[in-house]
Every structure is written in structure tokens, then in C-alpha cells.
Chain length 223, copies 2
DNA sequence: AGCGAAATACCACTTTGGAGGTACCTCCAG
DNA sequence: CTGGAGGTACCTCCAAAGTGGTATTTCGCT
């Protein structure tokens, strides 16, 4: 194997699905893309639901996704797409150069993040790259990203001082690799309660799993 | 609440379950324990199965567990006890001062590790401590333990050189906090396959969860 | 006296993770 | 050319993790 199995490419031009609630912009992008032999818009959608449906239906190579949509925003849509096991490359295409959006999108599994104020040629070049599997990010954002990643920061990211004593105690045990059950045993509380603390920890530190908590703690020196 | 809920103590002497395939030794220990007002042997077992059964049945405060038993060894028994959600303090009582055994026992959730060549008075003192929730370890072992923990080592612990390229690739992603699904996406393989690699990783590194793998990797500098 | 944060507990539920097993393919060494 | 190692996939099954609630107690601060 090694082909056919993962991406749905090979053969002709790479198929593109546009998801954007702005018809005019879709039209413009479509025209632009159709100038390119290697890319072809095979479907469009103006909201999350139909977007996901079309994605599942057409399994495109690339999905261009707007962030600012009514009702269900782009990040949610992104998650929905991934939930639906859409394997397509997903590139966020938006006006927002807000750090939180960028980080959230990449976190949610975006394969690229492009700003709508790009030059058309740049956009095409980026989309081609994306279709080939490269992660594409607008240059304007690289500095911002570097900064965000640097401090291990992602969005605001609180620090250890915002944690309660109990939480600090538990984070160390997580970093020691203990499962909730053992943490509970060690602290003589129920596993359910440990879960509550872990939940709060994840919330406060803006992390997504105990693994991230453990890594964070280790890097933070919470040995 | 705050009492009654966690340990099953209060009231009279702490109840003790002996699990050891050596009847004579059981008898000796029982006599010794019965000299102590604060401890009482309420059951005995000569193998894993009946040991677990009695533990579930009597929910003792303390379980004294021999490691060298036929058929199912002590470590397995220990795991079975924890599986069965036996909340009792479990103290391993054995002749083995082998590092692997000690580490494995503590890993498996033992609350103590005592050597059979202890002085009777020491044993009693230790058991009392254990019944009160203290972790008890024979002094002879402390040096060994310190050494084992020091290098993050636990048992022999293989190193990164024993991993295949694919495994090395995956361990980094685990350390980045990615769940299997995202790792699969990133490597363009199925989640099932990722699980296989993770399984092998756990086996090779002798770790018990992806959290431990992540911590190990971070400490190892696999950023 | 009253309020709010922290800690605890429980419950129902969904999603991940991990174990164990089979199977197929490729590449390389013996 | 046979066999093993590595990689991939798929399967079932069960445990662990996480989410969303509600609720109680304790403690410290107005």
C-alpha cells in the first residue's frame, strides 16, 4: 500500500471544498482556484452542517474553512470535521489574526492558517503546498506563533500560582505518571474526586489531557 | 463524613489477611501479630485465588503478601487485588531483595515491602505503621530504591536506542501531548496502528501508560 | 450571619487508551 | 529461500479518562 490508503489524492487535480458563509468571497476564491490546473473546487458550503456533510460526501483533498461563521464557528466546524473522520487537509482561511484563533485552529487539527488579505498568487501557491501536505501559515503569523509556542503558552495559559494546594498536589502525581485510581488511593479520596480536580486542572491550565498536564508539569520543574 | 469512607479501619484492632504459600511462616506471623493488640489476623490464604477471594470477602485493613508463590506470583496477585478494587493496605513480605521485584511491587500498588529476615519487633512496628497508612520499606532496600528512582530507572528500563524509527517518531508526538487519533492523522496511518506502536513502546520501555511515556520522553530530552 | 471558594462525593455518559490476537506485506540476513 | 523484524490494519473487550451535572461540608472573609 502506501498510496490510496491515506490521502485521497493521486490522479487529476486536487479537489477543494470551500466552507465560507460569504458567497462573494467563495466565488472569488473559486475563480482564482479554477485558474490553477492543479486545483479544482468540487463543492461549496455556507455553514458548518452542510460543510461537514459535503466533506464526508466528497472527501476532498483540501478544505478551505472560514472561521467567522454564524451559529457554529470555524473552530467548532473544524472539530466536527475531524470527528467525522474527514481526512482532508484543512486550511483555515480567515481575517482573524488573533492569537487565540490561530492557536485554537492549529490545536483543533488545522493543517494551515491563511489570512484573507493575502495576495492571490500567494494564496494559490499556499493552497498548492497545502494540497501536497505541507503546513501553510501566513507569514504575518509566524512571529505570533513563535511567541505563543515559546513560552509553552497557548492562549493565556495560567500558571501554577492559580492552582489550589490540592491541585498542585495532584498535578505532581499526574506528572509522576499515576493513574487517577492510585492518586485517589494515595490521597485517600475517591477516584471521582480526583477526576474533578483533574478537570479543574485542565480548565485552568488550558490543556487537553493529563498527558499535556504531565508534560507541562515536568517542563515547569514540578518534579 | 470524613471517616468511614476511605480506609476500613476505626473501632477495634486492624484486620490482617495473610497470603503466603508457606503454612509454617503464616503460623509464625500470625502468632506474632496476635501478640499485638492493635492487629488481628482475620484470614489466611495459601495462593492467589483464595487470597483475592478472602480479601474481597473480608476487606481487611492490611494484607501481608508473599511474593514467591507457585502458579501466580505475588506481583500478579497484587494486581489482581487492585483489580478487584481491594482498598486494603497491601504490604509485600518476601525474601527477595531483588530490585526488579521491589520496583514491580511498588509499581503495582504495594503500600510496603518488608523482608522476611526482619526482626520480629521491627516487623510488628512496621505493620502497625502500615495499618495506619504509612508506607513501610525495609531499611535494607532504601539505598536500592533511591538508586532505582534516581535514574528514573525502574527495572532495567531500555533506552531510546532500542526503539524503531517509527516508535521514536511516535514517542515524540506522545510527548507533545497528542492523542492517538491526531498522531494517526499526522503520520497518515490508522489509529489502530498507532495503538500498536504505543503498545510496543510501553512494553519496550517498561512503562505503564502514555503519561509515563510522555514524562520519560521529556526528561530524556526528546522534545 | 451570610457568602464564596475549595474539597469532597456521586451519577450517568462518551471517548480514549490499552491488551490480546490474527493477518498481510516488505525487506533483509542467514 | 526461509525466517524474523518492522510496519500496517482490523478485531474484540475492558479499563481509564473526561464531561456535565448536583450536592454537602468546611473554612475564611466580609
Amino acid at each position: 500500500m502506501s498510496e490510496e490508503t491515506t490521502a485521497a489524492s493521486e490522479a487529476g487535480p486536487a479537489s477543494v471544498l470551500l466552507i465560507d458563509d460569504h458567497p462573494l468571497l467563495r466565488k472569488g476564491v473559486k475563480q482564482l482556484i479554477d485558474l490553477e490546473d492543479d486545483l479544482e473546487v468540487i463543492a461549496e458550503a455556507s455553514n458548518a452542517e452542510t460543510g461537514v456533510a459535503k466533506a464526508v460526501e466528497t472527501d476532498p483533498d483540501l478544505i478551505l474553512l472560514d472561521l467567522n461563521m454564524p451559529e457554529i464557528n470555524g473552530i467548532e466546524t473544524l472539530k466536527m470535521l475531524r470527528e467525522a473522520d474527514v481526512g482532508s487537509r484543512i486550511v483555515v482561511f480567515t481575517v482573524s489574526d488573533n492569537e487565540e484563533d490561530v492557536v485554537a485552529a492549529l490545536r483543533a487539527g488545522a493543517d494551515g492558517y491563511l489570512l484573507k488579505d493575502m495576495e492571490p498568487e500567494e494564496l494559490l501557491a499556499s493552497l498548492n503546498q497545502a494540497a501536497l501536505g505541507k503546513m501553510v501559515i501566513s507569514e504575518k503569523l509566524t512571529a505570533l506563533l513563535a511567541q505563543a509556542l515559546q513560552a509553552g503558552r497557548t492562549t493565556k495559559s495560567a500558571d501554577i500560582s492559580s492552582l489550589t494546594p490540592r491541585e498542585r498536589q495532584i498535578i505532581k502525581l499526574i506528572a509522576a505518571g499515576l493513574p487517577n485510581k492510585l492518586i485517589a488511593r494515595k490521597l485517600s479520596i475517591t477516584e471521582g474526586t480526583v477526576k474533578v480536580h483533574v478537570k479543574h486542572l485542565l480548565k485552568k491550565l488550558n490543556l487537553r489531557s493529563r498527558v499535556e498536564v504531565a508534560v507541562w508539569a515536568v517542563n515547569e520543574g514540578l518534579s
